[in-house]
């Protein structure tokens, strides 16, 4: 990767890494608390490690100028490897905490190993580690192919990718140590948040500049979704994480918001992180890889645009459905509920658009497990958005809220939609980026597909059951008019479902393990196809074909 940079860019990288090492050193040496010092040390170590990498390639010959006429896929390749790594990590931690809930005594009796500290490692690992890297890998690939131009930066893609992974590393290493602000899905502390801001703004600028130098008159709709993902996540992240640090050298900070305002800000963030991180970004993925894999243009381009504005507009209003029957003013709850219901229209528009695109290519869906991943993703997207709108109805929410039904709903979306579309895209992308004709083992893709599907269904059904049962038990009265069940009765009733859930998670993890092996073997296996000379180029002649 270093050899592809010019000498000046390598020197620039070294200067940045030097600054980063200095920053880590100051954090470690000047820290007011031990945790801050530990993170300083970690930043220093990463900077030193990356510096060695750059120094080892410092004297490599200058890269040929012709490379600027080719697509820039090296960052996407590294991102794919990181995606699979984070998938295995995040899913394994998730399954671990799932077993912990079923058998609480089977754990290490140590501070770092308690559920509350490990659970955010799972959520951050899968959402930001796995999902985020998949989005970076595919967005870099898609924006170049649809704009028929090279990424508008040689160094900045690496800065975005590695900087983002440093964010994930700091976040995930912080939780077991006890560094968290306990804002759900926004747990990292203030200095980690600041770092993400820098990385994210670079990502936005890189993306906009690449769009600006495109050779297609129209910006393909997948880029709309990716762009919405990048810019709205920046807005959400910045607003929700405004905080006052205890001191510049202290790991703890206090959120600027309190109580009901904080709750609304938090769920405005939380709900729209789902909308723009886990939905818009992955819809961008779907709108490119699904038509390409099926070899059919998207069923209705118009519908994709109408859905785009619908989703962009309406999700923003819906966050308050997380706060039904709470101290949030009633009219805000009603507003959130109403928009959640209307939101079903653009959501189903997208799901139907995907499935109708496949209409006429069902033989491909039957034979090609990669395309089947994407089809199942579209189905789960439709199911989950329906369920989401349903659960936003106040009366339904009174039963489902605080129970495992929410967990089931989230995983129907995260496993069934996000992970399925990601694996589908990765199985399309990996052979393409390494110049292979197909994945190393078609059988392994099949095995992964069925394991993932079985795992998702077991997980979701067990959580639906446990959620509804617990919700009902909480509100059951005996004939004397008193509550029939103590809280612990309802915990006992969850036990079989917790075991089933952990089994489902294990199946899903096993599938991802096979997938990681398959990706690795595809990368490693010798070239079966003769490589086109000069690599993959965005020539204008193509546009005239």
């Amino acid at each position: 990767m270093v050899a592809k940079l010019t000498r000046a860019e390598r020197q620039f990288a070294l200067i940045l890494l030097g600054l980063m090492a200095l920053c880590g050193l100051v954090m470690a040496a000047g820290a007011n608390d031990d945790l801050f010092a530990l993170h300083g040390g970690l930043i220093l170590a990463v900077a030193v490690g990356l510096s060695f990498l750059v120094i080892s390639g410092l004297d490599a010959p200058e890269p040929p100028p012709e490379r600027l006429a080719e697509y820039y896929d090296a960052p996407s390749r590294v991102a794919i490897v990181l995606t699979m790594g984070w998938a295995l990590f995040g899913l394994a931690v998730g399954d671990w905490v799932a077993w912990m809930l079923a058998y609480p005594h089977l754990t290490v009796d140590a501070a770092w190993a308690s559920f509350g500290r490990i659970r955010p490692m799972h959520t951050t690992g899968v959402i930001f580690g796995f999902g985020g890297n998949a989005l970076i890998a595919t967005s870099f690939h898609v924006v170049q192919r649809t704009c028929r131009t090279r990424l508008a930066g040689q160094f900045s893609p690496w800065f975005v990718l590695l900087g983002y992974n440093l964010f994930c590393l700091l976040a995930v290493s912080g939780y077991p140590l006890g560094i968290t602000q306990s804002k759900e899905y926004a747990e990292p502390e203030w200095y980690v948040d600041l770092w993400l801001c820098v990385v994210w703004v670079t990502y936005l600028v890189l993306y906009l500049r690449t769009l600006a130098q495109r050779r297609e008159p129209h910006i393909y709709v997948a880029n709309w979704y990716y762009l919405a993902f990048i810019v709205v996540v920046a807005m959400l992240h910045i607003v929700n994480n405004i905080a006052m640090p205890v001191a510049w050298n202290h790991s703890r900070a206090y959120s600027a918001f309190a109580g009901v305002q904080d709750a609304m800000t938090q769920w405005w963030y939380g709900h729209n992180a789902v909308a723009f991180f886990l939905t818009a970004g992955f819809l961008g993925m779907m709108y490119y890889y699904l038509p390409v894999r099926a070899q059919r243009p998207i069923f209705s381009y118009r519908m994709s645009i109408i859905s785009f504005w619908g989703i962009t507009f309406m999700y923003m209003w819906a966050g308050s459905h997380h706060l039904h029957y709470t101290a949030l003013p009633h009219w805000v709850q009603t507003l959130g509920m109403t928009f959640s219901l209307v939101l079903l229209v653009p959501s189903w528009g997208s799901a139907a658009n995907a499935l109708l695109t496949l209409n006429g290519a069902w033989h491909r869906v039957r034979d090609d497990a990669t395309l089947r991943f994407m089809m199942v993703a579209a189905i789960f997207y439709g199911l989950t958005t329906f369920e989401g709108s349903f659960m936003a109805i106040r009366a339904v929410n009174s039963l489902s809220h605080y129970t495992d039904w929410t967990i089931g709903h989230v995983h129907a979306g995260a496993l069934g939609w996000v992970a399925f579309i990601s694996f589908g895209a990765l199985y399309s992308l990996t052979p393409a980026l390494w110049g292979r004709q197909r994945m190393h083992s078609a059988w392994a893709v099949e095995a992964h597909f069925w394991l993932a599907l079985a795992g998702t269904l077991i997980y979701v059904f067990s959580m639906w059951n446990s959620g509804v049962i617990q919700g009902l038990m909480w509100r059951t009265y005996d004939s004397g008019g008193t509550l029939a069940y103590s809280f612990i009765d309802t915990v006992v009733a969850m036990h079989p479902y917790y075991i089933a859930r952990a089994v489902g998670g294990a199946l899903f993890l096993a599938g991802a393990g096979i997938g990681a092996w398959n990706v690795w073997m595809t990368i490693r296996s010798p070239d079966t196809v003769s490589q086109p000379a000069g690599g993959d180029r965005p020539l204008t002649i193509l546009a005239g074909e």
Binding site: M235, V246, M316, I488
Partner: protein
């Protein structure tokens, strides 16, 4: 060539601005009115501040990620009010930076846990939940009773909280460390009660007269939950559902 590029660039920027415009409105409409809400919702003149020891305990609650399994928000539903107590009011979490309302009850709601169980019960339960509630699936927090509480930076914590709007006085900030140690001691101190009110609970929360531990702080926080103000109890009965 440059002219064309310029127009295309504008196109991308237009899309960007469109997205920003469209997405900002929903958030503004939802959130902005909440910042003028003080004018319409209940007020609680008796609302007291978290003491430095309770702030430290709250930080342990945050550090351990308790919100992942425990809510602090009793909804306006009959069964919740009967199970946990009067439904939560907005004013009760007005000093909570950030709020810990939570979204999942793997364990019960804690909004009114204060005073519900004795300190001894809390200590035994945190050390080994299954010794007290055999079917419990909560992790053990044994290490809290052996870990000394850091008190020397509590002044900084109070200062930061006052910067985001919690009305801590300079006097409270200056005495933060001493107040925390006094509250976890057997007798408390006059300064503590003058600053935070007569009702401030000062005792050996973990039952151990030795050092001030994280157990002391966490239990001090748990025992004040739902008791910062009496407003919720004074409220009319819940609407029911």
């Amino acid at each position: 060539m440059f002219g064309l590029h310029y127009r295309l660039e504008k196109h991308g920027m237009a899309l960007l601005l469109g997205i920003i415009f469209v997405t900002s409105i929903g958030g503004l409409v939802d959130i902005a009115p909440l910042f003028t809400i003080d004018e319409t919702v209940e007020d609680a003149p008796d609302m007291r501040l978290y003491t430095p020891l309770e702030v430290a305990g709250r930080n342990i609650y945050i550090r351990e990620g308790c919100y992942a399994c425990h809510s602090q928000m009793i909804r306006t539903l009959r069964d919740e009010v009967e199970r946990y107590g009067p439904y939560s009011l907005a004013v009760e979490s007005k000093y909570d930076h950030p709020m810990q309302w939570g979204s999942k009850r793997t364990g019960p709601d804690l909004a009114r846990i204060g005073g519900k169980y004795s300190d001894e019960w809390q200590v035994a339960h945190l050390i080994d939940p299954r010794a007290v509630v055999p079917q419990s699936i909560m992790p053990s927090y044994r290490f809290l009773s052996t870990t000394g509480l850091r008190t020397d930076d509590l002044g900084l914590h109070l200062k930061a909280l006052s910067r985001v709007g919690v009305p801590y006085t300079d006097e409270m900030v200056t005495n933060a460390t001493a107040d925390a140690i006094a509250q976890a001691g057997a007798d408390g101190s006059d300064g503590l009660t003058t600053r935070y009110g007569e009702a401030t609970q000062a005792r050996l929360f973990d039952g151990d007269p030795g050092k001030v531990t994280e157990m002391d702080a966490l239990i001090a926080y748990l025992q004040i939950l739902g008791r910062l103000t009496n407003a919720a109890h004074a409220n009319s009965p819940p609407p029911g559902e």
